[in-house]
């Protein structure tokens, strides 16, 4: 059992939870995720490690209510126990292999969509603390869905915000900002607007278009795939994706892959496998309002 030691509501549908998990806190690295099973009959739910603190022996997750399992996790209270928390799972981000000296001259552009700001955070933090140049774009449908703005500002060189409806930051989608930052630079962008690497994390369709845009710009891009998963340890293949024509398991070969190579259309189709059952489960749990959402 794993105790929730701190809980915060970030938006009407997004919560931040700090969980006591000393073993994981000591071994977690940026890019990795957890499997959380909230209750006895609960699902094994994959969630990115948003922060970790070996001293406190805790890890932090940021969860958006998307259905029954994420709702169970978000409805748990401070002091409650989660049945199972396993991890860290998946490969750490590629840059973890680079020597710190090299990181100092690296220039990263992070693109976060909605709750994707949570997985971006530990990566930006790691790089920025080691002297890398880090720009972050956070995009969302409207201002109520923008999370972690203040924390993010502390771990990057420049933070850009855009919303579909213009209720906060620029009006428009993240790919527009990507293009502008790369082509023209930006007034506040002392780095000159050219990057060595882009990392995009968010809804599958956002990552698809971010990858198309990055390719057009000649910018290498890493994406983090939120496929369906069961065990998260390579045992079942539920998470398989086609990358450069090869079948890969997102939980052990990823979750991060070269964005140019991912078959996003297949990945999006595979995410809908249990749509009917999920919608029925939502209805039974009084979460009907989720069924209309994308």
């Amino acid at each position: 059992m794993y105790k929730i030691i701190k809980k915060e509501q970030l938006t009407p549908l997004i919560y931040s939870l700090e969980i006591e998990a000393p073993r994981i806190a000591c071994s977690a690295k940026p890019g990795q995720f957890l499997i959380v099973r909230p209750s006895d009959n609960g699902e094994r739910t994959p969630l990115t490690i948003c922060d970790y603190d070996p001293q406190r022996g805790s890890v932090r997750i940021v969860v958006q209510i998307a259905g029954v399992s994420s709702n169970k996790i978000c409805m748990a209270k401070e002091g409650d126990l989660l049945y199972d928390v396993a991890g860290p799972l998946g490969k750490p981000s590629d840059f973890m292999e680079l020597p710190e000296k090299e990181l100092r001259s690296c220039r990263y552009l992070f693109v976060a969509g909605g709750v994707g700001a949570a997985p971006v955070y530990p990566q930006a933090k790691y790089l920025f603390e080691r002297g890398a140049y880090v720009d972050v774009i956070i995009g969302a449908r409207n201002k109520d869905l923008i999370i972690m703005e203040d924390e993010m500002r502390k771990v990057c060189s420049n933070l850009y915000i855009c919303t579909d409806d213009g209720s906060k930051g620029e009006k428009g989608v993240v790919t527009l900002l990507m293009e502008r930052l790369c082509n023209n630079g930006d007034a506040g962008n002392s780095g000159g607007g050219k990057y060595d690497m882009c990392v995009a994390i968010g809804p599958m369709v956002m990552m698809k278009f971010a990858a198309i845009t990055a390719k057009k710009l000649g910018l290498p891009i890493t994406v983090s795939l939120n496929t369906l998963m069961v065990d998260g340890t390579g045992m079942c293949g539920a998470c398989r994706v086609s990358v450069a024509g090869q079948t890969m398991f997102a939980c052990v070969d990823g979750p991060e892959f070269n964005g140019y190579d991912v078959d996003f259309d297949e990945a999006m189709r595979r995410q809908t496998l249990y749509k009917k059952q999920e919608q029925q489960a939502n209805a039974e749990a009084g979460l009907d309002f989720l069924n209309g959402r994308k």
Partner: protein, 459 residues
Amino acid sequence: MPERIDRVPVREQDPKVRATNFEEVCFGYDAQEAKREASRCLACKKPRCVEACPVSIKIPEFISAVHKGDFEAAYQIINIDSSLPAICGRVCPQETQCEGSCILGIKGQPVSIGKLERFVADNAMVNGSKASSIPAKNGKRVAVVGSGPAGLACAYDLAKLGYDVTIFESLHKAGGVLTYGIPEFRLPKNAVVEKEIQKLLDMGIKIETNVFVGRTVTIDYLLDKEGFAAVFVGTGAGLPLFLGIDGENLNGVFSANEYLTRSNLMQAFSNEADTPIFRAKKVCVVGGGNVAMDAARTALRLGAEVTVVYRRSEKELPARVEEVHHAKEEGIEFRLLANPVEILGDESGWVKGIKCIKMELGEPDSSGRRSPVPIQGSEFEIETDCVIVALGTKINRLIADTTPGLETDKTGRLLTNQTATSRAGVFAGGDVVTGAATVILAMGEGRKAAAAIHKYISG
């Protein structure tokens, strides 16, 4: 000379009824039936059954105790060589091991050794017979990685020798394949698997779930920082293989591991569970081993019409004979000598069929089985909305990749010499060494490793 009687049949759930539930198929013998069946054993001087048993259980001795009605003695005799008799009695391929060699099998039916083993073990469980008393601790700690039959057996023997044992398991529940792979209707979880695991806990063995060794901690960390004097690796061969044909990532294609894990570990067959399982009208299972039979019979119980596609003939089916027999009784159709060449999808990417080619048997291959060869131009299609691939598994390289100096072969199997790996203090056994094999072999290797670890630590 005992009077010659026929093999005592074992009572089973009616096929029509059991096809709609997940309860155990076989009821097992009662005491009278067991004694009667035991009376058939000739108590051979050179028992062929024992030679054919991978762990050399003293079969005629335990059967003779059953015959006399001393079931507790029978249990103690089995326990000398096997620590999981209630499980092995249910899942061992007896027809190729003990029963396959029984002298009575030459002219008639062999003694029903598996069913007798099961009876003895179940009887002991009901009567709370203690496998052994709790030994005094010797102050030395050993880590066991993986809680399948290899890890459980190793932990059990080490605890009996006084070691302080901790099992690390990556999933949220212990048992390995016994828990996530083999279905309830063949191996009950509460009544059998969990009881065996409870036996270990009662001896003071600790089980830490949710620890994925190689990620959560490394083997070196366990040895250097957590004070374990030795580590046993029994992590199995869990990575599913796929066919490598077109259409394999369509919606509706699953590995048997995924399908069975959802149903067994996550209990997705029950409405109480949050984890969904794909409900198909028609299911096509590819493969012919125990895993394929388990997937097929699970799909049947979830309401599907099921066809098994296998590329050789009935004789070569690697599954236990009893499982094939049960599957047929339950109404599963077999398309033998057929091999999938493509999985067909509709315009939105969901499975609508599977294209196969007919096969014929050619020369025997390296495994001694006659190898199937495709018959040109014999393609045909089976309509289905779900394909379950049960082609076998390979080994996760994580432990080898995160443990410097741990050697493997090309396929990732850990190289061992009498269960010792290339790293001092690190031992291994079960599927991670042999590749996918059997419960009894994994258990046997786990016990050998326990003896080797004891020798290593006590010098």
